[in-house]
Subunit: 378 residues, 2 copies
């Protein structure tokens, strides 16, 4: 193996694959990044055996030479060292050449590293995924769907299936659902209808956290292949593999109330600010409870009370109100996270009683829904 | 107590005093910030009993009304809550009024907090310091003197005196010295000569860390009063008190070599970058050793070697060289910290042998000196 490569292009690629590398792995070879050089470019692979990321650096990009291949070859280099070394090298170009059995010489300007690596034949093969059915979605849309649901996944391992986000696809409608059994978030979007259908695809929360760091904020198409136990997300020059969660996701269709008895619309930011302040008093309680009361027509009171610390009272204008007055208590953290996940200026809240789950939605579309279980305080 | 205050001015003041408040204190009253309102303004005090910070918010600043005093009074409010509450209040003005015995109502726009506090009479008195002899120095100069010496203080408690920085003043020459017994940093500056003299004033490293956060980056005069066991730094509207360390600082005058046998000048940034890269290979060793060799006239080699990880070799141009060739090994971290503390583009290194301390200085002035003990590797 012998090649020259543009430093900045290598930094980008190596930082992507490094997201899949875990320092906690018990498999030594997985602490490394695989370099696989062929005549058309360099393939880098990182994996923690749950998630694998592969980046292709082509020999040219926009007519600029990026990789100059002298002799193809392979090696696995320790991620802990190679990432920092590449970032700190002085020149704009880096030369890699294999020396001894599994070591490389890395040269740039007046700097020379000799770095010991691992046998590339020991690196595990990535799963073979048949690409007969492919879902296509824009990168920025996928990224926002993840952001709007991921916070509600469970962090407890007692029901592992709830640590993932449920993906469903039917007749060109893609939906993401997450719940930790205290709250639920749902996001839908239309994608190109091509006869592809799935349900009970549960993508681990950790996978989505890493994926969202790699997804571009632009309307670039991303291609997704789903199998029984794997998902492959194909971006430009990047392949992102993950296992799926085993098990059946609970049926959530009967949890969401049909229609609220009390429906109000408020400006999102004013409700968010008021609950954030109210939560300051409750911040030492784990339950983090605030209370919402509809005071008189079009006036909302948010309060929180701690005998030791003190009390807070907030008043907010309601834009529109239908139905009965009501008092309800809820976990401030859950409600704040749901509000922050909505980009609309105005939101609608639908209550069906002080002890029943309530629903938050944007007023300008119905592709997002957050459901929160109230807390009994009396 | 009853007053109105400009929110942003209160945020600035409260963040300053909060730096002295410790959440780990065993004295409940010190978890609070003291509010003391008189007809000319508001005095805030925070203290962890080692460091105390007092900020005065005057009723007007640049002809703008900042505090509107309705009724003078005092209270101590829990820092953990009041800092966040003030930051998140919605209005540009905040009203404070005493209710019950030791509680306040805090109002701003449509928000009202009732916050429980403590009896202000229980708050400890700050030390009375006689201000007959005052040292005056510009804020930005004091700040850079701290930055250039603080990193070399000891973090070990076995010799407590070394956890502080030694301040000396004689004939208008102020000097700061720090050492952890492996390296030493010294910075001198001229201040106004007014007959004031002190030696063996040892200011705790933690004090200087907090002080540097408050000091402005401008050439504003700061007044310093030193007593046997206390130091008071007086900034505009801010008083910063700290205890001094007990004990006698070791005599460092004989540690610093008179003249080097090998003296070389190099560009600071190229040496810093080379040692940073070399340190990457050694980063898992606690000793963090890199080796410097003068190769031939005007060429320097920096290397680091780890049998497991690999090897790095760096070459740097020497600008000027006097004396014998030499090989020396040292702790990369100590040398990097010393280099980063020097603002000059070119530095001079004076060696007196492979096993003797070497000295780093800027080439453009002699107010800064860093001394580092080498490591024996052969």
């Amino acid at each position: 193996m012998h090649f020259f490569i543009d430093k900045n292009q290598l930094i980008d690629a190596i930082q992507h694959v490094n997201k899949a590398v875990s320092t906690k792995t018990t498999i030594p070879i997985l602490t490394g990044i695989k370099f696989d050089l062929a005549s058309d470019g360099l393939v880098l692979t990182g994996s923690d055996s749950d998630i694998s990321i592969q980046v292709f650096v082509p020999i040219t990009k926009n007519d600029q030479e990026i990789v100059k291949v002298i002799k193809p070859g392979k090696i696995v280099l320790p991620a802990k060292y190679i990432v920092d070394i590449v970032k700190k090298l002085p020149g704009s170009e880096i030369e890699f050449s294999l020396v001894d059995t599994f070591s490389v010489l890395i040269r740039s300007a007046s700097t020379e590293f000799k770095l010991n690596g691992y046998d590339p034949e020991e690196y595990p093969e990535l799963p073979q995924i048949e690409e007969d059915q492919v879902l296509t979605i824009n990168s920025d849309l996928l990224k926002s769907m993840i952001r709007q649901t991921i916070f509600a996944v469970s962090t407890l391992e007692n029901r592992p299936i709830l640590t993932g986000v449920l993906w469903k696809l039917n007749q060109g409608k893609l939906s993401f659902v997450s719940t930790d059994s205290h709250r639920l978030s749902m996001r839908e979007a239309n994608v190109e209808e091509n006869g592809l259908t799935f349900d009970n695809v549960v993508v681990p929360g950790k996978t989505l956290q890493e994926l969202t760091k790699i997804l571009e904020d632009d309307s670039i198409p991303v291609h997704i292949v789903v199998t029984d136990n794997q998902i492959l997300v194909k971006m430009e020059n990047v392949l992102f593999y993950s296992r799926l969660l085993d098990g059946t996701y609970p049926d959530i269709s009967r949890i969401i109330p049909e229609k609220g008895k009390t429906v109000m619309t408020v400006t999102k930011q004013s409700l968010l600010d008021a609950i954030e302040r109210a939560a300051l008093i409750a911040k030492n309680d784990k339950t983090n409870i605030v209370k919402l009361s509809i005071l008189e027509e079009l006036l909302l009171e948010i309060t929180s009370n701690s005998p030791e610390v003190g009390k807070v009272t907030e008043h907010i204008k309601v834009n529109q109100l239908d139905g009965e007055a009501l008092k309800i208590s809820f976990n401030a953290k859950y409600t704040l996270e749901a509000l922050k996940a909505m980009d609309s200026q105005e939101i609608k809240i639908e209550f069906t009683g002080a002890l029943s789950p309530f629903v938050l939605k944007p007023t300008d579309h119905d592709r997002i829904l957050h459901l929160i279980l109230p807390v009994r305080t009396f």
